[in-house]
């Protein structure tokens, strides 16, 4: 599963962490772990920020976390006008790191800062080509 299938519009088809899309397709949310110093990353990184080692392994994230911040975007950029307005949030992940995604089926008045959430891997059903993404949901 090439990385180009990650995202409604993908801007970076080639990356050293392209297996991320493969895992996501199988329903797994994966981060990376530096083989040398053990630092954990989400979003994934091929090269360790801390010790600069370039060997890493994949580790599965639970998807659990808390909602740091959110906004409903009304003025959308190219490729997203058909789904506007949409709400995006930033999640502080339990295992460390952060993730940005659409908020899924949480009613608007129930979206609160610091609420517990879970990130769920998804496939766009309505787009003919496979498109992978994830949403922020109630745990």
């Amino acid at each position: 599963m090439p990385f180009k299938y990650f995202g409604k519009t993908n801007f970076t088809p080639y990356t050293k962490v392209d297996k991320f899309a493969d895992y996501l397709h199988k329903g797994k949310l994966m981060g990376t772990k530096c083989k040398k110093c053990g630092e954990i990353y989400f979003p994934p990184r091929a090269d360790c920020l801390k010790c600069m080692d370039d060997s890493f392994e994949w580790i599965e994230f639970s998807g659990k976390g808390t909602l740091n911040s959110f906004t409903t975007i009304h003025a959308a950029p190219k490729g997203f006008d058909d789904i506007a307005p949409y709400t995006i949030g930033i999640v502080d992940l339990k295992e460390g790191g952060r993730l940005l995604a659409w908020i899924g089926d949480i009613p608007k008045d129930e979206i609160k800062n610091d609420m517990s959430v879970k990130v769920i891997p998804r496939i766009f059903e309505e787009i003919p080509e496979i498109k992978l993404y994830y949403t922020i949901e109630k745990p």
Binding site: F6, G7, K8, T9, N10, F11, T12, T15, F42, P43, N68, S69, F70, T71, T72, I73, H74, A75, A76, P77, K78, G79, F80, D81, I83, A84, P85, Y86, I88, I90, G97, R98, L99, L100, A101, W102, N113, D114, Y133
Partner: protein, 395 residues
Amino acid sequence: MEANTYNKWVKQVKIGIVGIGHGKFGNRSDATVQELAFEPFKQAIEDAKNLGREDIDSLVVGSVPEYHMQRSLPGVVAEYVGMNPKSVWLTEAACASGSAAIRTAYMSIKSGMHDIVAVIGVQKMRELSTEEILALMGRVGDVQWESIFGTTFPGYYALYANRHMHEFGTTKEQMALVAVKNHYYGSMNPYAFFQKEVTKERVIDSEDVASPVSVFDCCANADGAACVILTNEKLAKKFNDTPIWLEGMGSASAQMSLLRRPNLVEIPSAVEAAKQAYEQAKVKPSDIQVADVHDCFTIAEIMAYENLGFCEKGKGGRFIEEKQSYIGGKTPVNVDGGLKAKGHPVGATGVSMTTEIVKQLRGEAGKRQVNGAEIGLTHNVGGIGQYTFVQILRR
């Protein structure tokens, strides 16, 4: 020069501004980029005394190339303003390109490589089609992990605002008051895009762009140009009776992605750049008598008060509510109207800020003059905080 003498010179030589120019900001469909650049360049040469174009050693252009049809912009600007065959180059740091250009000019004079350097910040934001603008707008963040969810500039500042409101109780009303202040002062600035006042209600009731950010919380894309001419202290008095000295030059970076930042309630590059500038200029935040800060969104000005130390962390909302950033308050901020009223021609903005502080410190700011101001500050933020440049200027 002997190594020791040289080192001492680099350390001690002061760099001053001896000429400034500012074109009209706004919808400038009447002019090409190079024609826009010419306006403040001519003004700046005339503003300095006894200075001819031939005295200038090099030209630094601050601009963001992807907005222009013309590729390699410094080439066409240098030709049009008549700087060939002098040295010319482009400096880019997103919305902070103007201040980045001033920094490179400062460095080239400090090093002794050049004596007199002109900086032109210039941008035309309206050459591209709406289609192209919408595509560019979708690639402001980290394109690998964030832009794929349709993030935008206002969206990122909305994420700051949402968290700032949650942690500190900042309100939409306080954000609106920033717009009210900046449009009030903008109404007195003939170079501003918008020269009309707005009410708090108008700001709050304006349409949502990315909640809690509404249309009137955002600055507008604009076309425009500004220019400053810098030289060392040996030459400065020859060209101006009142050179304004660049005494603190802070510059720092922060993660591109909000996902890798320590928190979402401050801009770490601004905190670091401010610290550097205060140390170099040997002044405290309370010594600043007038400041131009990067109010691309109203929440950005509130965070700027805090990040620059004008008030405590989390008290930025209160600071505007108490009118501490008006003339007569603790620290007058954006009394030229800020990006909010002037408009934001990205490459020109930082240079525009410096020209305003120079005017204030010379005592030439007219109706919006802060009486007796001798120490001023500029704060120019690139992107969503990836780069910040803070200058402290002194009469």
